[in-house]
């Protein structure tokens, strides 16, 4: 372990670490809180819940987001659900089991202490959300309903139809707006943070740009919390919202904050396949669909060929000629294997020539069998004797509609195909980034006073995140972790008076931002920002996507470097810096992605093993499963930045005292 990385994990038993720490962490008294200012970048689940909770405690909070309202943060789009170890279903769930599933799901590349804490506070999140009016799905008895998600064998996922993120975010947002109303939070919507300000090694504020008029603003804070989300859009095509970006985290990285495990990205198995070059983003079909959808491709290549050419329809293929490959390969978990496993299995079938759409990059997700099963149950409930096939189908469809209606509608909207009649076509797409800013147990980066919460940090999901765990982590960080852990730092800052933003560090930071903007506008080249973004996305998708190898990664690094150079000499950014200029905003973000892309490939190259979402073709078992190398790679790779896109690797060794580390098996 390098001395620069102190994870600050408290002593003691795993089960007691958090409780003990929480009761001993220094407190800030209410009067002092009122003079401590906290800047929060981001209003998603992590940012909104942190802002509401910290403002309730009495801190002075400023919140920034680039959308026109805090409620529109990308968290709003989360569909399937949120995990919590409530054991309401009496099916054997517990804090330990959620902890264990998360560590195993992450392929043994996450910190035990952080994950255990996450599992511990998960139940409080559900309580808090319900209390703030989040309308989760309920059973007829009036109690909360649960479903299961990939990588687990219990039902611990709470949901609100296919709009769980929306409902949770609106809950956190209403808490945030309440504090805006009381004046404890000042909200800066349509603002983009473009630089971190450090003074004497501590983080002291940010530079933000008012997107409506281009004005640069300086903001002081005793602490800064980056809750700015993930960097999946480095791939151009992803399920992330169009504006999701790495800029906030990247600026912090370039100011000295380490970036951990950048190559750990998640490719989600169930997304609507790419249909053409015009596509601006990909759409997720929630993993919850795998509860009732069976994944298959034809068992015969000629059938796949005929499907691709439109000569036959999926329903023409007889049951015995279908290959339910997940059920075949992983009988214990079947269609509910973790995401990385399901994605690779789809790629394997498609690469082998069994893909079912015109591009050959799609598999079926079929609801027919379970529609009939539900139909029969309903007919039984209703006391219908000898129901007709039609009756069964229509009763079954009603159940499916109740569970997944909005997802089915969305699918039809986009593809023009009715999924009640024909199986959906799906293919893996970039979805989530496990990597992010390195943080210690307090969620503080290695820059004192600078924190990272939610998807922006690397902390809890190791090399692969389980479904329904990102919402849990975002809210855990914001509602239940940071309000305590920030005391460890702020209790020592009570004597620090607000620093004037005329301080030279602010002046210099602002100048940096201004220079970058001027430079982007003055290139006046011939290619649009999107042109470079698409090119970068393809390089990363092909070489640092679902499968990676040494030659490809080396190639990708030099390709990204060349593309970056071309961008800075030939990009065309129209307009000026003094008005709403979305192309300029995009240009700044793509410039950062062009640096991050290189680091991702470097990290993937360095990690000579396969684990979770990181699959190195050179390291696999005979059956094609990921082959970890715990002897040499059981560490967090934290990268330190040096001017001119140079990086140094620091390793945080991962210690497993409570879990016996084993090959991950879902068979």
């Amino acid at each position: 372990m390098t001395s620069k990385l102190d994870s600050k994990i408290p002593e003691g038993n795993l089960e007691q670490k958090w409780t003990k720490y929480r009761s001993t962490v220094p407190l800030v008294n209410p009067a002092n809180k009122r003079s401590l200012e906290i800047i929060i970048v981001g209003s998603g689940l992590a940012g909104a819940s942190a802002a509401a909770s910290l403002a309730e405690l009495g801190y002075k909070v400023k919140v920034f987001c680039f959308q026109d309202s805090a409620r529109r943060a990308h968290s709003i789009a989360a569909q399937g659900g949120i995990n919590a170890a409530k054991n309401y279903q009496n099916d054997g769930d517990s804090t330990y089991r959620l902890f264990y599933d998360t560590i195993k799901g992450g392929d043994y590349r996450a910190r035990e202490a952080n994950v255990y804490r996450l599992a511990e506070v998960s139940a409080n999140i559900i309580d808090q959300s319900v209390a703030s009016g989040v309308p989760f799905a309920r059973e007829y008895g009036g109690l909360l309903s649960n479903r299961s998600f990939g990588g687990t064998q219990v039902q611990r996922t709470f949901y609100a139809a296919g709009q769980t993120g929306q409902q949770l975010l609106l809950g956190a947002y209403s808490g945030l707006q309440r504090q805006v109303g009381t004046g404890n939070v000042k909200m800066y919507a349509r603002h983009e943070m473009l630089e971190v300000v450090t003074i004497d090694g501590k983080c002291r504020g940010i530079i933000a740009r008012d997107l409506t008029n281009g004005k640069l603003e300086r903001h002081f804070g005793h602490a800064v919390l980056l809750c700015s989300g993930g960097y999946g859009n480095v791939f151009f095509l992803s399920t992330n919202a169009m504006g999701s970006n790495v800029t906030a985290a990247w600026k912090a990285h370039k100011k000295g904050a380490m970036f951990a495990n950048p190559c750990f990205t998640q490719i989600h198995p169930t997304c609507i396949p790419v249909s053409g070059d015009h596509q601006s983003k990909l759409t997720l079909m929630s993993e919850s669909l795998r509860n009732d959808g069976r994944i298959w491709v034809p068992a015969k290549k000629e059938d796949a060929q005929a499907l691709r050419e439109g000569r036959i329809m999926p329903n023409d293929i007889k049951e015995e000629d279908r290959d339910y490959y997940l059920e075949r390969r992983y009988p214990a978990f079947g269609n509910l294997v973790p995401r990385d496993v399901a994605s690779r299995a789809a790629k394997e079938r498609c690469d082998a020539g069994y893909g079912v759409n015109k591009t050959g990059e799609a598999v079926f997700l079929d609801f027919a069998a379970n529609t009939l099963r539900y139909g029969k149950i309903e007919a039984n409930k209703k006391g219908i004797q000898n129901p007709s096939q039609e009756q069964i189908e229509s009763l079954g469809k009603a159940v499916v509609k109740e569970k997944y209606g909005n997802l089915f509608d969305m699918y039809e909207q986009i593809t023009g195909v009715n999924p009640y009649e024909q199986p959906m076509m799906i293919y893996p797409a970039v979805h989530y980034t496990m990597g992010g800013l390195w943080v210690d147990y307090n969620l503080m980066t290695n820059i004192p006073g600078l924190y990272a919460l939610g998807e922006a940090n690397f902390s809890d999901h190791g090399a692969n995140r389980l479904g329904a765990s990102a919402l849990m982590q975002g809210l855990a960080d914001g509602y239940f972790v940071i309000p305590y852990t920030i005391g460890a730092y702020l209790s020592k800052e009570i004597m620090t008076k607000a620093i004037s933003t005329d301080h030279e560090a602010f002046v210099e930071a602002e100048k940096n931002v201004q220079d970058t903007i001027n430079r982007l506008l003055s290139i006046k080249g011939s290619k649009t920002v999107d042109y470079y973004h698409k090119k970068l996305g393809l390089i990363i998708w092909n070489q640092c996507g679902m499968a990676r190898n040494e030659a490809g990664l080396k190639q990708a690094i030099s390709d990204v470097q060349a593309l970056r150079e071309e961008f800075w000499s030939n990009v065309k950014v129209p307009g000026d810096a003094n008005s709403l200029n979305p192309e300029l905003e995009k240009a700044g973000r793509v410039a950062d992605f062009l640096e991050l892309g290189e680091l991702m490939c470097k990290d993937a190259l360095e990690r000579k093993e396969s684990c979770g979402g990181h699959f190195r073709e050179e390291y696999q078992t005979e059956e094609g499963e990921a082959l970890r190398d715990d002897e040499n790679y059981k560490y967090v790779a934290a990268w330190e930045y040096f001017a001119g896109n140079k990086w140094e690797l620091h390793k945080e060794d991962l210690i497993y005292d409570n879990i016996k580390i084993a090959q991950r098996s879902y068979k």
């Binding site: 309202s69 789009a77 808090q128 009016g133 709009q163 993120g165 707006q177 065309k572 709403l580």
Partner: protein, 254 residues
């Protein structure tokens, strides 16, 4: 099946809030019917940038119909001709070759134009700040299953909570009323036991803020609900009116 369309666009261009603004015409060719309306705008903007012209500013983010950012008034209808979808979910399948499509921003004085098709909807946030919440501090909650909630109520609260805050209801209304938006939030909490303690205060304060922001009165034309991409029902307005009345009566009694 996928087809290609050639279209004429008339788009509202306005440099900033103080500019008068005007329509400009554009031709876009070879638009696949598989594209979304916003992807068609991406194609147009790419062309404008390449031709050294100012691209058209519009709000968007999720492109999945859930964030509520997108807000185009298309051929006289907020979010265009198709029921139950947002602009980002509207696909070019809904148009025919040779069509002329007129695109404007939301038009309502509480939503001033910032640039082109981008408007300022911060009035909605202020209405929520005035009372659109349940006052529960973090850490105060009891066990989530301690209060069972009848499934019907939970489902109806969810249907109200599905509002994405896009503002189409305001844009659709000749009076620029925000009743549908406000009533959706009021209704969500009115249907839940957690929302009861502040029920009357909430509705009074949200309505007061709504009036302060300059939204117009509701004359029950129903245009809002007809154009709402999330199918928010007029019954919420009725529920809010009842609550509002009850709230004013009880405050008179004091």
């Amino acid at each position: 099946m996928e087809k290609n369309l050639n279209l004429n666009l008339k788009v509202w261009r306005q440099k900033n809030a103080s500019d008068k603004g005007k329509f400009e015409e554009y031709k876009v060719n070879n638009i696949s019917t598989d594209m979304s309306f916003l992807e068609m705008f991406d194609v147009l903007n790419d062309k404008l940038v390449t031709e050294d012209k100012d691209p058209i500013a519009f709000d968007h983010d999720c492109r999945e119909g859930i964030c509520g950012s997108c807000s185009m008034f298309i051929n006289g209808q907020p979010h265009g001709p198709k029921q139950g979808v947002t602009t980002c979910q509207l696909h070019m399948r809904s148009f025919n070759d040779g069509d002329t499509i007129v695109v404007e921003p939301w038009r309502a004085s509480p939503f001033p134009v910032i640039k082109d098709l981008v408007v300022d909807r911060s009035a909605f946030d202020r209405i929520i700040s005035a009372g659109g919440f349940i006052s529960v501090n973090t850490g105060n909650a009891q066990d989530a299953n301690a209060i069972p909630i009848p499934k019907e109520n939970a489902d109806e609260a969810f249907a109200a909570a599905a509002c994405i805050g896009c503002g189409a209801c305001v844009a659709a209304c000749k009076n620029a009323s925000a009743m549908l938006f406000v009533s959706a939030k009021v209704s969500q909490f009115a249907l839940l036991p957690q929302g009861q303690p502040e029920r009357h205060q909430r509705v009074s304060e949200m309505v007061a803020q709504m009036d302060l922001e300059g939204f117009g009165a509701c004359t029950n034309t129903g245009a809002c609900s007809a154009e709402c991409p999330k199918g928010i029902s007029l019954t919420h307005i009725a529920r809010m009116n009842r609550d509002y009345l009850a709230a004013s009566l009880s405050s008179n009694e004091k």
